[in-house]
């Protein structure tokens, strides 16, 4: 019986093609990588579940904890900054205003910090088993998507409570903003994940940069405030103004807010730069190009992952 099993296996193998997997003549390229990841999608899902499950391991409330933090964040900004510090006086429905900016930025920040540590954090697997290494940063992206959607639910609840449920033409900005963050987050996540293997300083550097970027984007303060200040100092069409307006985080924050914060429409279009959708579209195309480019860099560097970590 086993003799036939043997013969069957040998004849099946004889019909399979000998594939060069490493070294000269090995298949490479972005398409190849996408195919590899697609074949491992089930495992990617399991890795995301593992990340999420182990995060709230052994806690009684479990996943509920992922809601508690954003709820309190919302309350703090609403009460302290909005009412105690008086920011709400100029901005209607300040809680939703700030929270919308915070969660879209938090989404980006979680993708970046999660991916940066993902390769080093999974060293046990990477050193012992072959997998397309892109799955580890992608699993971080996946768990960030999950947390973002949780926070999005809270945001929706807040809009219902403040009777400002976002049904307006601004909703067309929702998907582009989220996609923009997803593309840039994944692109830089891949790059930083690979770089962190060779230089562990990257993960600490990333934490600092993330903190800076939070205040460099119009999240807690209105876009127009910073924009007019920059115009005063550097001029209305200076490169500083351009970078400040057209960086993907600002664009995503503004677009996301335009979709979710309907109370601001009374203040008129002055709250936002012109041609926001066009700017977002251009940034998206650039982001896709960066994603392909950084995936190539990742593929180049990943050959030595197993020995460097």
């Amino acid at each position: 019986m086993s003799e036939t099993a043997r013969a069957q296996r040998l004849s099946r193998l004889a019909h399979e093609e000998l594939v060069t997997v490493a070294g000269e003549g090995a298949a490479g390229g972005t398409w190849h990588a996408i195919g590899e990841i697609a074949r491992h999608r089930e495992m990617l899902m399991l890795l995301i579940r593992r990340d999420l499950k182990s995060r709230y391991k052994d806690s009684v409330l479990g996943f509920a904890w992922s809601l508690v933090k954003p709820i309190f964040q919302l309350l703090i900004y609403f009460v302290i900054i909005g009412h105690v510090l008086g920011a709400a006086a100029n901005t209607p429905n300040y809680g939703v205003y700030v929270f919308a900016g915070l969660i879209i930025y938090g989404f980006f920040s979680e993708i970046i910090t999660g991916s940066t540590g993902s390769i080093v954090g999974n060293s046990g697997l990477i050193k012992k088993i072959y997998l397309p290494r892109e799955v580890f940063p992608l699993a971080s992206v996946g768990s960030a998507v999950f947390n973002f959607s949780m926070q999005f639910v809270i945001l929706l609840a807040a809009t219902v409570l403040t009777r400002a449920f976002p049904i307006s033409p601004g909703l067309v900005y929702l998907l582009p903003s989220v996609l923009l963050i997803l593309v840039y987050g994944t692109a830089f996540g891949l790059l930083l994940a690979a770089a962190n293997v060779y230089l562990r300083d990257i993960q600490y550097l990333v934490e600092v940069v993330m903190m800076l970027l939070l205040w460099a984007s119009p999240i807690v303060y209105p876009f127009t405030m910073a924009s007019t200040q920059i115009a005063k100092v550097f001029g209305a069409h200076s490169w500083v103004q351009q970078i400040y307006t057209d960086n993907p985080i600002t664009l995503a924050v503004l677009g996301f807010r335009k979709a979710m914060w309907t109370s601001g429409q009374a203040l008129g279009p002055a709250m936002y730069p012109d041609h926001l959708l066009l700017r977002t579209g251009v940034a998206f195309v650039v982001g896709v190009i960066l994603l392909v480019l950084f995936q190539r860099v990742f593929a180049r560097l990943q050959g030595n992952f197993a020995q460097e970590i």
């Binding site: 086993s2 003799e3 099993a5 043997r6 013969a7 069957q8 296996r9 040998l10 004849s11 193998l13 004889a14 399979e16 093609e17 000998l18 594939v19 060069t20 997997v21 490493a22 070294g23 000269e24 003549g25 090995a26 089930e42 495992m43 399991l46 890795l47 593992r50 499950k53 182990s54 391991k57 052994d58 046990g124 697997l125 990477i126 050193k127 012992k128 088993i129 072959y130 997998l131 230089l199 562990r200 300083d201 550097l205 050959g303 030595n304 197993a306 020995q307």
Partner: protein, 424 residues
């Protein structure tokens, strides 16, 4: 099964075995850096940085082709590149030069339970691990009961694996790994874990895999296992293939490498001590030689030879009653043979200046392999005055018809059908 085993030795190869792994001129360089932080890198940027790097070639121009259904053992001392080669085959490490081609499903068992997450339950880890090793969810579901049965930890499958004993952990991991239906299985030292019963289970599974025509590439330090399991052994030394072929011959070549290293290390150690130890001790075993009568020193000792072991001993103040002893070990350290002058009942004269004692072992019959001779000088109370461990060594030729340390030629015949004795 009754007489087929006697008439045909090799399984009939109706299907020509295709190559499953083809390694062509593979080299691997490791760069050893001494600066690891951003600050140090910047400080030592450019030309100065070169001094902080060191190249180490773990593999040098290795070319190997492995046909389907073969069991190949990679052997070599620590750092010889065998694990690196296994990782290159598995695609875990990219080679610096050369190419690796494969066909069929490959599973790497470089570490049992790599990818097990301590906070997930056994069941969740089975699904995760199986998926990492390339099984789909449906396939895992179909095999789940088999995996559970093989692991033998049914009661704990829904417990987090951090509460598992190390044995349970390994059993579950191995159970998953062997149920992934690989065409090529890469195994690195993992067969050396678990209790004896589990090890036997692993070896049985490996044999079943061999029967099913799966290819196995294993790295092991157990040379006995190599001779038992492998069809072919590849000996690596400093990243190069030194021997490739019959396991028995490759193992012998490896033992010679080890012995050469051991001797040079021992010589260095004695030189470092400056011979001062000899002054402290009163008795001294100077040397021992082992030569088959009628052959040159260093020749193989063949069955039927008379083996002459000569031991030179001395004693500083002089001793009247003394015993000289020899012991022969195999490479695993098991005692094969031992005798003393007292056991044989030889009267020995007063010992002070060096004398030679000859042990003539008549008509020896050693099985194939390397043997080590230890020599000792003792007083009548059995106190060891001086030992010379592994004073010398000799080789015995291996024979294709048997394994082990005793030479005895097997002659087999089929005695026909019999009626087994029934209980009264």
């Amino acid at each position: 099964m009754t007489d087929a085993g006697l008439t045909s030795t090799a399984p009939a190869d109706e299907v020509r075995a295709p190559a499953v792994v083809k390694i062509d001129g593979v080299s691997k360089r490791f760069v050893i850096r001494k600066d690891n932080s951003l600050k140090e890198r910047i400080v030592t940027l450019g030309r100065a940085g070169r001094r902080h790097r060191e190249d180490f070639w773990a593999l040098k121009d290795v070319s190997i082709e492995i046909p389907a259904g073969q069991t190949v053992a990679l052997i070599g001392h620590n750092g010889s590149g065998k694990s690196t080669l296994l990782k290159v085959i598995g695609g875990i490490i990219d080679p610096t030069g050369g190419s690796v081609a494969r066909r069929g499903r490959i599973a790497a068992l470089l570490e049992l339970g790599a990818g097990f997450h301590p906070d997930l339950t056994g069941r969740e880890n089975v699904y995760l691990n199986a998926s990492i090793l390339g099984l789909s969810r449906e396939e895992t579901e179909a095999k789940f009961d088999d995996i559970l049965a093989f692991s033998g930890i049914a009661d704990f499958i829904d417990t987090q694996v951090k509460f598992y004993s190390s044995g349970m952990y390994v059993r579950l991991a191995f159970a998953v790994a062997v149920h992934t239906d690989p065409d090529v299985l890469l195994v690195d030292e993992v067969l050396a874990v678990g209790d004896e019963a589990f090890q036997r289970k692993c070896l049985d599974k490996i044999r079943a895999f061999q029967q099913e025509g799966r290819t196995i590439v294993l790295v092991t330090h157990s040379l006995a296992q190599v001779q038992e399991l492998a069809d072919r052994a590849i000996l690596l030394n400093h990243g190069e293939v030194v021997a490739d072929g019959d396991p028995v011959e490759a193992v012998a070549a490896f033992r010679n490498i080890l012995e050469t290293r051991r001797q040079s290390e021992a010589a260095a150690r004695i030189a470092a001590q400056g011979g001062q130890l000899a002054l402290v001790r009163e008795g001294h075993v100077h040397s021992a030689t082992a030569t088959a009568v009628g052959r040159e020193p260093g020749d193989e000792v063949r069955p039927g030879d008379d083996l002459l072991i000569s031991v030179v001993v001395s004693h500083e103040p002089g001793i009247d009653d003394w015993v000289c002893a020899i012991q022969i070990d195999d490479t695993l350290g098991a005692v094969v043979y031992g005798t003393t002058t007292r056991r044989v009942g030889v009267e020995l004269p007063h010992l002070s200046t060096p004398r030679r004692v000859d042990f003539l072992l008549k008509n020896v019959a050693f099985g194939g392999g390397k043997y080590f001779v230890h020599a000792s000088l003792m007083d009548m109370a059995g106190v060891h005055l001086h030992d010379l461990p592994q004073a010398t060594s000799f080789d015995a030729p291996s024979h294709p018809d048997y394994v082990g340390i005793v030479h005895a030629l097997p002659v087999l015949s089929d005695a026909g059908e019999v009626v087994p004795d029934s209980a009264p």
